[in-house]
Symmetry: C2
Subunit: 332 residues, 2 copies
């Protein structure tokens, strides 16, 4: 059972754990702005695993990641008055692009705090959606300070990348679509970083396919969710070291309880297996995925769990890889 953990935060659209109707409404709300992404199967990967794998291709999603779902839901859930003040976040990753994209669609300002060290391609992508960027020193405190200043000055609504029920309900729509398209899944897998995608997936599986287990993959070099689950409380991600740069953050107060209550298990994957799996997905499934998106497959390949003959949905979370710097080139 879910704990009564919902604390109303005025900056968060949605102030309770999303229920089935909330997720369905989120799906309707974001439908004009996101793709219903395809589900792809790949015989050679099935053979390797001796299982049936269904890849839900969020790498083919708008902005190249599932983050477009949550950001669109959060932004389009705001009242006109709230939205008129603009939205703000700090992120150097896919959430920055997703929020900029959603704000542009609603016709409101997006203020994005990005570390001054962000790759030019990510800065260009955010600027391409017409967002304002504030650069800061590349550390957590500088990010938060810069964000606070913007929110104070502009009144913009802070949209947290994952610890926000509107975001969680939006991310939940990916698994809802997958369950709708592929009946009888034994397992659904997602990567876990801050837990937005994982907690949304857990809710959708719980509501719409209660016999389906949800398992998360996490980089061994950023294993805070794994440790948090074991300890029963949120442990911080300290000095994470992994190629899966979308999964460096700690769980949040809203995502952790959902994960604690519903997840089957969290499996760790080494960077070696993440790179191997990323390569497999590119080469065999013909899909460009970023390292973070390859973590669930890596976790399956690396851990000895019984999946023979099982039907496994894997959410390929994103495709924003740097195609000029492929990890398997460097390692050869």
């Amino acid at each position: 059972m879910l704990c009564a953990m919902a604390i109303y935060t005025p900056n968060s659209p949605g102030n309770a754990v999303p229920d089935p109707d909330t997720i369905k409404r989120a799906a309707e709300r974001i439908a004009p702005w996101v793709h219903r992404t395809p589900v792809i199967t790949c015989r050679s990967i099935d053979r390797l695993l001796d299982a049936e794998v269904f890849f839900k291709c969020e790498n083919l999603q708008k902005v190249g990641a599932f983050k477009a779902r949550g950001a669109s839901n959060a932004v389009f859930s705001l009242s006109d008055e709230q939205a008129g003040r603009g939205v703000a976040t700090h992120s150097s990753g896919n959430h920055a692009q997703a929020l900029a994209y959603a704000a542009a669609n609603r016709g409101v300002r997006a203020h994005i705090v990005m570390p001054s060290t962000s790759p030019e391609v990510k800065i260009d992508a955010v600027l391409g959606y017409g967002a304002d960027i504030t650069f800061c020193e590349p550390n957590q405190k500088a990010r938060e300070d810069a964000l606070e200043k913007i929110v104070r000055k502009t009144g913009a609504v802070f949209i947290h990348p994952y610890d926000n029920y509107g975001i969680i309900a939006g991310q939940a729509t990916a698994a809802m679509e997958l369950i709708d398209e592929v009946p009888g899944l034994d397992i659904i897998m997602t990567p876990v970083g801050g837990g937005g995608l994982l907690s949304g997936t857990l809710l959708s599986a719980h509501y719409f396919s209660p016999d389906t287990k949800v398992i998360a993959g996490e980089p061994g070099g950023a294993d805070d969710a794994f440790r948090s689950l074991k300890e029963g409380k949120i442990l911080e991600s300290v000095n994470p070291d992994t190629i899966a740069d979308g999964l460096l953050t700690s769980l949040g107060e809203k995502t952790f309880p959902i994960i604690r209550d519903y997840v089957d298990s969290i499996l760790l994957a080494s960077d070696e297996f993440i790179i191997k799996s990323m390569r497999l997905i590119w080469e065999r499934a013909k899909l460009v995925v970023e390292p973070s998106g390859a973590v669930p497959l890596a976790a399956l390949l690396q851990n000895d769990i019984d999946i023979a003959g099982k039907r496994i949905g894997i959410i390929l979370s994103g495709g924003n890889a740097d195609i000029d710097r492929l990890p398997w080139k460097a390692s050869s």
Copy 2:
């Protein structure tokens, strides 16, 4: 109007230019063996072209290319007696894998003649489907001699990679699906090598969406179809030189008349534009395509034709690229 060009060849399943029913029957016949591939859109590529592009993802097809369609149709069109003798072809490319795949599905032998210089990964793929490989010197005469010997010895049915109406009807199903899914296309584009995909696409557009123009993209370094269309007769591909290694062959007696009668135009693309377009599709659309699959987009980018605001379907023909040797690495 189509000329009465059909000459019965006992080795060819289907002995006349496919009519609408033949293409629909082909689609039903191959449905258990091929994917209905997704259609993907990509905002940044749309912006670049100032048009709406719909990518029909045959790179996500079985064996990584549309060739699975034609080979499946040809093999499953054979009588039990014919199929029992096995099938044979010469190819070092996607048709080899596709025929091996289709034969395995029907439970019959496939004999594939491959040049001794074929990359190991392609040899392994064909062996993976349980086909017999005969190696030969890497020239046309050696291929044909080796094939003839096999056919004489085993009685196997020669399945030509493109100059075969069963193959053409199978390839036509890709455009038929695209037309079904995306109404009101102004243009459909395919690459052209031997013309199997192009002629099938032309037939489907003619039958199922007569207002849609079909335009082919061809590498400037293998421009025999372009020249053939201009001269009104088949000109051989002589010493082709292009990165698009799936498009080196000449048109065939069955594909050429269909192309001559129905194609709007053939546009040439340089290797520079092919590489640029391949990179765009990987980076922006998150899809792994081989160089040949990027030729239509390259032709659009390189040639000054009026496409503003148009709805353009592009068949991404295949995804069997060598991810260890990316052309944009070499050129940087």
